[in-house]
């Protein structure tokens, strides 16, 4: 198979079945994630978007089909990927600095160098001064910034984000979206982002992938060509939103009728 | 539960018993010290069918211990709950009593036995009293914690509906605190049980599971020692799983809480 250098991750006919629950989360998903682009996956509840992200992370294996990163099969979690969880998953017994250096030191980076690198990222996410704080003393937004810094610090090829702003209040969420784009534009990494919110998806991404209701398949792929920083209310924005919602609406209806069944 | 899980759970026990039986039959282990499970079962059966005063010896032992346990537990729980309420209600009482409680709490019941024996002599009374004392502490502490943990908003809700202080205590505080109190009772019962058996080792005149085990040990009757211990464990598991969890199911579990 010829490997296109512009494609970072390929998914071919990926299916995921959870036998104990008798649930098919994903069915025959085929997708190309473009390199250095911000891709978001949206879909109704239960459509399997988080499952898909877990497969990309290597936390789980597909029942069928294959997933390749830079041509190599993804079989288990590894430092070529970074992951940001919705509930932060910070190590409570480590300080902010300790959390961020963890990914570096376990991969062989010397402690002093690791701390230098960590401090750069701490500055990047605007948390300078909090290096020695313990996570439980920080607010939600701050914790998520630490999580992002931690995931980026060891320079993974791909950044995976699972509804990272879902637990934050509306204000902080908006702020974090802006921050994320600012940080991303510095590094221009491949990002795969999962969210419920269509507004968030269009604000952030280059590509929006719409997943169908369970079992999830790719229902639509929409390119978002609007230059950044984006305006939530500009005409182009609203057009894209209409298109996405159009595809989504159908799926949400299906989801609701499934719940009632 | 899946059959495989049940099988795996029973495997080590069955395996252990089987190995033991074989080793004993082959005389590879000292059967005076480690009688085979078969012998143990036989001894216990013998005790069960041995009669004195028209009642089975084993049953008498179990019954006597149970009687003491019940009495000690009831005393301990009642006084413990009262004490806990007092601690929760009066800040002064708490400040005064707390250091004493903290000091006495870790002292094992059996250590207090000689003292109580001097005061009360041998027999039922001593055993019950010490049992009650050890039950008192966890019950009191947990009652105190439970009452103090009540969400003040539901108290406000009740009072604005017109409930007076006594009604609030009984119909708001106590049900809320019930989870804690039940946990305290669970802990207290565990302690009471262990202490009663332990004190029976030294203070019982002639009946009781503890007495039975200790007497057997003194006469080097290993069968009865092992049998007695197994019986104790079984009875306690039944007591805890059956009684406590049963009460929990009828009360706090229905309200959405669960015991730790």
């Amino acid at each position: 198979m010829r490997w296109d250098p512009n494609i970072k991750i390929t998914l071919r006919r990926v299916t995921k079945v959870f036998e104990e629950k008798g649930v098919t989360a994903l069915q025959d998903v085929s997708l190309d994630i473009r390199k250095d682009k911000f891709t978001t996956i949206v879909g109704p509840s239960g459509c399997g978007k988080s499952t898909l992200l877990h497969l990309l992370a290597g936390f789980d294996r597909p029942s069928n089909g294959e997933i390749r990163l830079d041509g190599q099969m993804i079989e288990k979690p590894g430092p070529d990927r970074g992951f940001v969880f919705q509930d932060y998953a910070l190590f409570p017994w480590k300080t902010v600095l300790g959390n961020i250096t963890f990914g570096l030191t376990i991969n062989g980076v010397a402690k002093s160098r690791a701390q230098e690198i960590a401090m750069e990222y701490i500055r990047l996410v605007n948390l300078e001064g909090f290096e020695h704080a313990y996570p439980h003393t920080l607010s939600g937004g701050m914790k998520q910034r630490v999580a992002i810094a931690r995931a980026l610090a060891y320079n993974p090829e791909v950044l995976l984000m699972d509804e990272p702003f879902g637990a934050l209040d509306a204000q902080t969420r908006k702020y974090m979206q802006g921050e994320l784009i600012r940080i991303w534009e510095r590094f221009k990494k491949t990002v795969v982002f999962v969210t419920h919110s269509v507004i968030e998806a269009i604000y952030l991404s280059d590509v929006v992938v719409v997943l169908s209701a369970r079992p999830g398949t790719v229902k639509g792929i929409i390119e978002v060509d609007i230059p950044r920083p984006r305006n939530y209310t500009g005409q182009e924005y609203l057009d894209v939103r209409k298109r996405v919602l159009g595809i989504l609406e159908e799926e949400v209806q299906k989801e609701i009728s499934m719940d009632r069944a | 539960m899946k059959p495989r899980t049940v099988f795996l759970a029973l495997l080590p026990l069955a395996g252990f018993l089987l190995t033991w039986q074989v080793l004993a039959d082959q005389r590879w282990i000292n059967t005076a010290l480690f009688p085979s499970p078969g012998q143990i079962a036989a001894s216990m059966a013998a005790l069960m069918t041995e009669y004195e005063d028209g009642r089975s010896v084993l049953a008498m032992h179990v019954f006597t211990t149970g009687k003491r346990l019940a009495a000690a537990a009831m005393e301990g729980i009642v006084i413990g709950m009262t004490g806990g309420c007092l601690l929760a209600v009066s800040r002064w009482f708490y400040r005064l009593a707390n250091p004493f409680i903290l000091l006495i709490l870790p002292i094992p019941g059996i250590a207090m036995a000689p003292l109580f024996i001097v005061w009360l002599g041998f027999g039922d009374q001593v055993i019950i009293t010490i049992g009650a004392v050890t039950t008192f502490f966890p019950v009191a502490y947990n009652t105190y914690a439970g009452i103090r943990s009540v969400n003040p908003q539901i108290v406000h809700a009740a009072s604005i509906m017109g409930a007076g202080p006594l009604r609030i205590l009984v119909q708001v505080y106590l049900p809320w605190a019930a989870v804690y109190i039940l946990n305290g009772i669970k802990l207290g019962l565990a302690r009471c049980w262990r202490t009663v058996v332990a004190v029976e080792f030294i203070a019982a005149a002639d009946w009781g599971l503890g007495y039975m085990i200790w007497d057997a040990a003194e006469h080097l009757n290993a069968s009865v020692v092992y049998g007695g211990i197994f019986l104790l464990a079984l009875l306690f598991v039944i007591l805890e799983k059956g009684l406590i969890n049963g009460i929990a199911r009828l009360t706090v579990n229905r309200w959405g809480f669960s015991l730790s």
């Binding site: 992370a57 376990i106 | 005064l96 250590a111 000689p114 503890g210």
Partner: protein, 263 residues
């Protein structure tokens, strides 16, 4: 903690004892209570000083502490290792949960007769009793702690490339401390109980607080009994406050993952 809070804290703790002590002393004298029944604090203190000067009290205390700490350390080490194993290997877990529940229900004191007939009446028996007293509880709590580690924290470490040893020692173990450290406190309580029980029942040992209390019965020496009981109480509280609570404070409380009530 500031000096003034330390002073208020100490005062708050000591005052009730002062009040209690005065009431006790007063009550004994006023009601002319026989020192054979309830000795006044002054008598207890005097006898304690005498016993200490003779060296006897020190011997008893050291003997008990030695057995306690040895058994405790062994129980904690073995308990953590076994508990972690049980939690991590699901087959082992399914095999051992029933056995563990049964073993935990057995009152520690009942192991003593078994140990007495198999191991004799000496030191080793007491230490083994202490060991068994703490072991099962430690296994259970460690297993619970490891099982309850937030899956996502483990995932986060995995994706950063943590290998299995890293994962266990640097992630799962610290994360399980919110269960393991309170268990350390619980365990020492069980160990104390095992210690005293075993000392009382072992005829061949010479020293030990349990032994001291038990022997005092033969001379109806209630004062010595009180000395023994108070020593146990004080040592237990001291150890708890000075070591275990501090350990709790510098670990799980500092990290914000401490659990709630203890009793």
């Amino acid at each position: 903690m500031t000096l003034s809070t330390l002073r208020t804290r100490t005062a708050e703790t000591l005052l009730p004892f002062l009040v209690g002590g005065i009431l006790w002393e007063g009550g004994c004298r006023f009601f002319d209570v026989s020192p054979q029944i309830l000795p006044p604090p002054s008598l207890i203190a005097a006898q304690a000083v005498e016993l200490w000067a003779k060296g006897a009290l020190r011997q008893h205390i050291l003997a008990s502490l030695f057995r306690l700490l040895l058994g405790y350390v062994l129980a904690v080490t073995a308990g953590i290792i076994l508990g972690a194993l049980i939690a991590l290997k699901s087959d082992i877990r399914r095999m051992s949960s029933l056995t563990l529940s049964l073993l935990i229900s057995i009152p520690t004191i009942t192991w003593v007769p078994v140990l007495l007939i198999t191991m004799g009446l000496g030191d080793r028996t007491v230490i083994t009793a202490v060991f068994l007293g703490g072991l099962f509880e430690m296994i259970y709590s460690t297993a619970l702690g490891v099982e309850n580690v937030n899956r996502r924290i483990v995932d986060a470490a995995r994706i950063m490339g943590a290998k299995r040893t890293d994962l266990f020692f640097r992630v799962m173990l610290p994360a399980s401390l919110s269960f393991v450290i309170p268990a350390l406190r619980l365990c020492i309580g069980y160990c104390w109980r095992a210690l005293i029980g075993a000392e009382i029942l072992s005829a061949m040992i010479r020293w030990g607080l349990g032994k001291m209390i038990f022997e005092a019965r033969f001379w109806n020496d209630v004062t010595v009994m009180f000395i023994g009981l108070l020593s146990i109480g004080l040592l237990a509280v001291l150890f708890d406050r000075v070591f275990l609570r501090r350990l709790e404070r510098i670990t799980i409380e500092k990290w914000g993952i401490a659990a709630r009530i203890d009793a």
